[in-house]
Structures are given as structure tokens and as C-alpha cells.
Symmetry: D2
Subunit: 282 residues, 4 copies
């Protein structure tokens, strides 16, 4: 049995010793440990992977963890058993490059996840969903139908017990309600090097400004547009020879790679969110 | 004799043919030609390097160039003879990394330039100027002495016929007057990936936002703060393990390299400015 | 009518003037011109894109180009009419990431090409070919059947008038015969930063050596293994925390992007080969 | 009192718990912990930074560490007290860019080190040493004087109790004797992306091969030329427009940055060597 354990709490002396001592007592062999202290706020973060010689009853293990560690140190924690695949919903609109990238990785076994469905406000990408045998729900969104559309989305998400959502160039702003149900569990890709060029048409804005490098940013969605905790960013060089359409083409390659990296980090439980920032364990 | 020729004008058919024909007639061998058309504005840009078998009288050459090419095509142009070193003034405050980088390149013969003096609003870097035997003028700037200080600067710049100015982490905003005398001839280094984090304390702002990449930007100074035409940008990865002081240290390496690249591009006449953007020939 | 013209010949004075003069006389408007002189060998390279007001008869145009320019300057040249899609064959084995990347770009209209078929020495990727409705030919290769297999390949290539071949992680060495029929027209992706780690198992070798950066290289195939003219390379950082399987996963993202970039450069006639090196126009 | 502790030993269950328990008992607060297990060889590596409330007698601390931890787990370990500056000797020949970069960082207080002297087989850089007030020893090396020269070097190194040596583009091969006295304590910068282009004239070789990216590599010197454990690498893009002299100029910026990064990692005790590879803690 292998567990991944995430912890954060106020920093104090002896936490690492207490946690590693507890796991040693449980006959666990720590195969990964990384920790971080945010000096500004005095918050301690830790991620462990631990292999146990014999199978523990997980509920009992969690109860003892809570009593022996979490309560004394006032920890927030989560424990994830290896091999349990999270359920991921994908939201798309008309651009296909991120969807193709995610689905081809999924098909290759690179993403340890199940994909119960794809939701889109357009019908354009239905054929790709069909190609990969993933159910596709066309839920159009207009000004007047926005709340109904969301109800439909929420119903589907609940029905399939979706764990997290990937906005793979979904061109709609998701509602506060959805965000509150999936806090730090909605992953977006924005086609700029945030915080530069937040909002609509970032490639146009980058072209206007005459930048020499463009970027893409994957972040958790919060109520403030394009301002959530950043998971991953990457950039590529451009020059005066590139027009907006070249920015868009070059950007596509960034977007798909950056989004897929962020999804993998999330899946591997390597992300922790605090104070609108992320700790990304490597 | 080797000339570098820069041209821009409204795009029209036959310009390249006319220019290259003119140079061929003058027994010039074109060793470099690059051109660019800005599709949005229909402006044509060209940079040529041309070697001439026999020495032309430059004033005569320029006169014919004006009559045969510039007037018919309504060109703006400049012609630069190889081997003539421009005069560069350096403005600094307290940070030494950009100054060291520029002066060590200068000492190695990497920059084809003369440096008549360094101006600073602090005395801290005087010893470095001494190390490299460059005159150092300490001109303090306070709210009340700002205009006097500038007059002193202008006097020195005029006295030495300075061609262009490098702000090597000069922590003062230069005046509109100075900018108007040196249009597209004042090169600044800003310690962020512009347009993100313009203004003061960009590393603090980047840390607050939780970005995963930081950058530096070299640009020509215009009246609008940190909004001039970008010459060069570069970035480096950061993570949650880096504090603001690490951003500053990592940033230093970016700043000095990016600024030196920009200075070299300017010296080699590889930059053209149009519409608050640059064409950078390679 | 839009033509792309590629030229190379011994460098001499007046070539650019002659070519641009010829095109101007033909009422062509040059919208792109880039040239390069290899100083070591004295060879001149030029790439032009030219739009013509009225449709030229291409055979007549080429005849005059040959007589007026190519013969006097002893040029090697090719002229390509815009809108004519080349025919590209893809060879694969078992890895699907490059194939997925190429086909999803093809489906999105990003690659101006037709793909008459995919050839593979394994049956594993047949379903992907089916997904995208591309004919798939399974031609197994064993020591004893190698030459027969190649005859089958050649027959298919001839039958469909294939213009160029992409080896999208095809794990067989192609024969001298095939290379001689498609000189500088077979594009391979090698999963290392060549010339480091040529040959088999480059990620294993990179891991053994303890490098901090891994790469991928796309090149034209020549008789010497992994030693052909390099079209495109890219790299990504690795650390001691990455095992060989991580190198392979990270490498996949490099491979697919680098190969697709190389294919696009080839399609856009931006590559010229000389002396086992490439000139890549931008 | 702050200590940095480096440990490596055969991996076994309970090590982390034992070490962190020991430090907790000593009233130490762990402010940094990173560990790594080499899966191939089963070797465990750990780096800790620990702050102690009251000053420990270091000899007593080390004795107990040895008895309680090192002996039971058969650890190799080292303990370094913060604030103790190591002594670094710099060896140079004629190139000044790495020397300038190191000395300007040293002067800025960026490197926590003392530099008792610079050794060179040429007199060219003496003036730079003078600029920075560092003693400069000119020790010429010829085929016939090589062993004498080395004796002189060794005498100086011993005299000043030098801790480690930086070869800042020192164009001589150092002897096995010197290497054996300073195992994993001689840092070299090689001007290529190793293992590509080991040995002499790597930029010439890179140009010949037509690579699209060049690199620099900093590594610990071992008896096998350019084959020691790699500490840091970086790369930059090149194209057909760059001649060998451009490779050299662009390479300089890589070399100085990569070497300085490696020196800083070494100084911060963030490097561990095993099996001719490095573990680099971040």
C-alpha cells in the first residue's frame, strides 16, 4: 500500500520529526519527503509518499493520524491512496489543440484519470470526443440561458462524482457557485504570461505592446478573473516578423503543454494552495 | 569601406530592386540584407550592410542616395560607416551588476563604443568607475534639485557629444526634456517581464502574485513609464522556494545580460523603432 | 498568384539586384526576402515570396528565370506555387505521441499537406490511423524480410507520388536506397540533443551521464545514422529527481513539438540544405 | 547557530525519522530538509538546515551525531557551520569574462567566500586581479615546466589552506595529483553542452555540425577529461546566421552565468556527488 500525504499548518519545531516518527512506527518507508516553510506567513507545508509493508485499514490509519498529529499541530491534511483514479471533466469551446493533447495523453496511459464526459457550449469538437469514445454534452450558453446551462453542468458533475474540472480553452466565465463547489479544483489555461494580458484577446494585446516573448499560464480558477493561484507557466520567443496569427499558432503549443503539465501536477497531488499562491512539489 | 543602411517608408512595389540596383551601380557588394513589412500599417523596413570596392565620398554618396531613392520613395534613412564608435553615457544609482557587466565587456573590446563618463545620483559606484578608469560624475537628485541636476547632466551630455544613454539600473525617472533630446536613444533595463509589473518594486509584486517565471526587459525610454518600445526580454524560472531576495539575485543575472544584449543591438544598428514597437534585425 | 523562390549559388556581387530587378520587371511584389552568405564556402542562399498582379504562365516564367538568372549566376533553384499541398507519408512504430501531434495539427488545418497513408512495422497504432481516417499499411520488418518490406514501402510511395516522408519515431533504420530517392526529404526525430547520444537508447545514456538538460533533434536523414542536417532542436531541464521513465515522458513533449516544427519549416519551404547543414529562414 | 548537514548512506526505513528525531532532541528547528533516493543504487541522500536555540559545542555535537546516527546507519556526512567562508582559488588563462563575473559578484557580496589568490599561466589578466585587489600569481606552464609549475601551484594552495578551486576558463589540463588532493572540489566550465563536443575547440565543432543550440557545462574535474559530474548546464539558440565568432560571443554569456551558478551551489553545500553524478538540492 502506498499513500501520498499532504499537510499544512503553522510552522513549529518538531513537526517533521513527529510525522516521520509516526510513519516509522506504522512500518512505513518514506520514499519521498519534501517540505516548505513560507517565511512571510510562517506556514509549514509537507508532502510525503510512504510505502507500507502491510495493508493498513485506511480509516483506522486516518483516525490515528488525526489524533496523534493533526490535532496537536492543528494540521490541515489529506491522504491519497495510490491507484485510485480521480474523475476529471473537460470543458471546451471551439479550439481543439488542448483537447487533443489531453485525450492523446489519456489514451496513452500518461494521465492516471478517468474522463466521464466532455462539456461544451459548442458542437464543434463533438467529433473529437467521438474519436476517443468520450461522452460529449453540448450545453449551449447564452446570456439568457446561462443559469440553466450551469444547472445542467452541475447536475452532470454531481451525477458522475467529478473530482476536478479542466477548462481546456473553455471560452466562458464560470460562475461563483461552480467555483465554490470546486475550490482549487478547476484548472484553467490562459493564453498569456499572467499577470500580463489578463482577460480577452491576450495575443492581440501582446502584439500591440510589441513584446519579444509570449506565454501561457495554467491556474486554479477563483472568483477574480485570471487571478487565481498559478500552477505552471511557460514562454516562447517572438519577433517583429510574427503577426497575431503566428502568436496564436505558437501560443497553441505552449497552451497545450502548460495545461497538460498542470493537470499532471494536480493528479500527482503535487500542488498545494495557500494565500492565492501554489506550492508545487517536484 | 563598409556602410550599414537603414530605411523605412511606405511599402510599395520595386523598393528592394531600386535600392539593390543603386548599390550595385555604386560597385557595392551587399553582404547583408533583411527587410520587413508591417502588414497592419503598410510600412517597409530594410537594413543593408554593403562593402564598396573603392572609397566613396560619403557626402556625395548620401546626396545621390537622397535624390535617387529617398525622395522618390519618401524614405526615412540613416547611413553609418563601419569603425566609427558611438559615444555612450551610463547612468547608474547603487546597483553594480549591470555596470560591471557593461564595463567588463567594454574592457574586453566586445562593445564598439567609447564611454566618456558615468553619471550617478549616488557615490556608491565611484570605485568601480575608478577601477575601469572612466570619469564619474556624482550628481545628486532630490525633489528640490531635480531640474538643476538635469541641467548638469545635459551640459555634460552636450559637452561630450554623447550619442546615446544607457540607464544601468538608474533609479530616477528621466525628464521629458532629456527624452525629447534623445528620442529612441535612451536604453533602460526594467526588472520585470513587461508589461507585467511596471513601476516600482516589480520583484515584490511578482512574489505576491506567485508567478513561476520572472523576467527582465530592455526598452527605449519614452514619456510613459516602462511603456517604451521593447528591445529585448528574457526570463528565468522561479518556484515557491524562492523568496523576494532570491528573485532579486536571479533577476540580476537576467538584467545584466538583457541590457547588454540591447546595447549591442543598438550599437550594431539592428534596431528600428516604429509605432512604439521595435523591428530587431538579426 | 504567389510564388516562393529558393536559390543558392556561388556568391558574387549583384545577385540580389538581378533577382529583384527580374521580379520587378515581371510586376511581382516581393513580400519576403531573406538571404544568407556562408562565409566559409562563399555560397549565397536566398528565399523570396513574391505576389504577382496577373497570373503568369508558370512554365514560361521558369524558362525566363532559367535563362535570365539561373544560367548567368549558375544558380540551383526551385519555385513553388502557393496552395499546392505536398504529399506526406508518415512512418511509425509503437510510440503514438508524435503521430497524435501531427494528425491533430493536420485535422486542425495547421499543416498544409495531404497524408495519403501511414506505414508501420507494427500494428499498434492502426486504431489512431482509423480515428483520423488515414489509410494504414502494416509492413512488418524482420532481418530476413527487410528488403521485401522496403520494396512494399517504395511501391506505395511511388504509387501515391509522395513528396516527403516523416519518421515519427519509426524505430527502423531506413535504407540507402530510400534515402537516395528522397534526398533531404526524409525528416526524422531523434530523442536526444544531437550530437550527444546518437544511436539507441539516448535517454538511458543521458541518465547515466547525469546531464541536467535533455533534448530532441529533428534532422534530414542521411546515410550516416543521426548525423544528417539538423532542422530544429529543443531542450528541457532535468534533475537528479528524474528517473529514466521521467526523461522519456518529458522527452515526448519535446519530440512531438520539435518534429512538428521541423515538418512545418519543410512545408513552408523555409529549409535549405548545404554541406550537411541547414539554412532555416524565419 | 545554524548548521547545514549533508548525509548519504544505503537507503533503509527510518533514517529520516532518526535524523529529525535527533535534531529535535537537540532543540534544533529544521528550516530546510530535502532528500533523495537513487533508485538504481539504493543510496539515500539528505540535506538539512537546522537552527539551534542555544549554541552547541560543535565537537560534542559531531561526536553524538557520529555515535547516534552515522554509525548505526553507516552514513557518510559533513556538517557546516553558517558564516564560515570557504577559501576559493581561481585559475585563469587569457579569457576574462568568467573572471570578471566571479570577481564582480564577490565584490558585491554575492559570493560568501574569500579569494586568497588567482593563478594564471599567462600574464594577461593581471590587471583585472589588480583592479579587484586580489593577489595574482603568474605561473607559466610549458611541456618541460609542467610538473614544476604544478609544485608551485600546490605550495600556494597548501599555504593558504584553499578549500576549493575554480577553473575559470583555465586552458590547461590539471594533473591527477591535484585532482586527488581536491576530489569533487575543482569546478570547471566547459564551453559546450556536454557530453557533446568534449575536448578542444567545441564551438568550432558545434559550428561544423550545424547545431541549432549551443551550451555550457560546469562540472567537477575528474581524471577523465570533461567527463566529471555535471553541476549545471545551460543553452542558447543559434542559427545559420551565426559564425564561429558569434558562437564564442554568445557562449561567453552562458559560460560566466553557468560557472557562477555552479560556484554558488557548491558554496551553499547544495551539491552531493555519487557515481560520477550530482544530486543538486534546490
Amino acid at each position: 500500500m502506498k499513500l501520498t500525504i499532504l499537510i499544512h499548518c503553522a510552522d513549529s519545531s518538531g513537526i517533521i520529526s513527529a510525522v516521520t516518527g509516526f510513519l516509522h512506527k506504522k512500518l512505513g518507508n518514506i520514499i519521498y519527503l519534501d517540505q516548505h516553510v513560507d517565511q512571510q506567513t510562517g506556514v509549514f507545508f509537507m508532502r510525503l509518499e510512504c510505502v507500507f509493508e502491510k495493508i493498513e485499514v485506511l480509516t483506522k490509519f486516518k483516525k490515528e493520524f488525526e489524533e496523534d498529529l493533526a490535532q496537536p499541530y492543528k494540521m490541515k491534511w489529506s491522504i491519497h491512496e495510490a491507484g485510485v483514479k480521480p474523475k476529471m471533466a473537460i470543458f471546451v469551446s471551439k479550439y481543439n489543440h488542448c483537447l487533443y493533447d489531453l485525450l492523446s495523453r489519456y489514451n496513452s496511459g500518461e494521465l492516471e484519470v478517468t474522463i466521464p464526459f466532455i462539456i461544451s457550449n459548442h458542437n464543434d469538437l463533438k467529433s473529437i470526443a467521438n474519436q476517443f469514445n468520450i461522452p460529449f454534452h453540448y450545453i449551449p450558453v447564452t446570456k439568457t440561458t446561462k443559469s440553466e446551462a450551469e444547472e445542467q453542468q452541475l447536475k452532470l458533475l454531481k451525477q458522475e462524482n467529478i473530482d476536478f474540472i479542466v477548462l481546456a480553452r473553455y471560452m466562458q466565465i464560470v460562475s461563483e457557485k461552480l467555483i465554490s463547489i470546486y475550490p482549487n479544483k478547476i484548472i484553467n489555461i490562459h493564453h498569456s504570461f499572467l499577470p500580463a494580458f489578463a482577460g480577452a484577446k491576450p495575443y492581440h494585446a501582446a502584439y500591440e505592446r510589441g513584446v519579444k516573448i509570449i506565454g501561457a499560464t495554467s491556474h486554479y480558477v477563483t472568483e477574480k478573473l485570471d487571478a487565481g493561484p498559478i500552477i505552471e507557466q511557460d514562454v516562447t520567443a517572438v519577433s517583429h516578423t510574427h503577426h497575431i496569427k503566428d502568436f496564436i499558432l505558437k501560443g497553441r503549443d505552449l497552451e497545450k503543454i502548460v495545461l497538460s503539465r498542470a493537470v499532471k501536477l494536480h493528479l500527482q497531488r503535487k500542488t498545494m494552495v495557500y494565500n492565492n499562491k501554489t506550492v508545487i512539489f517536484t
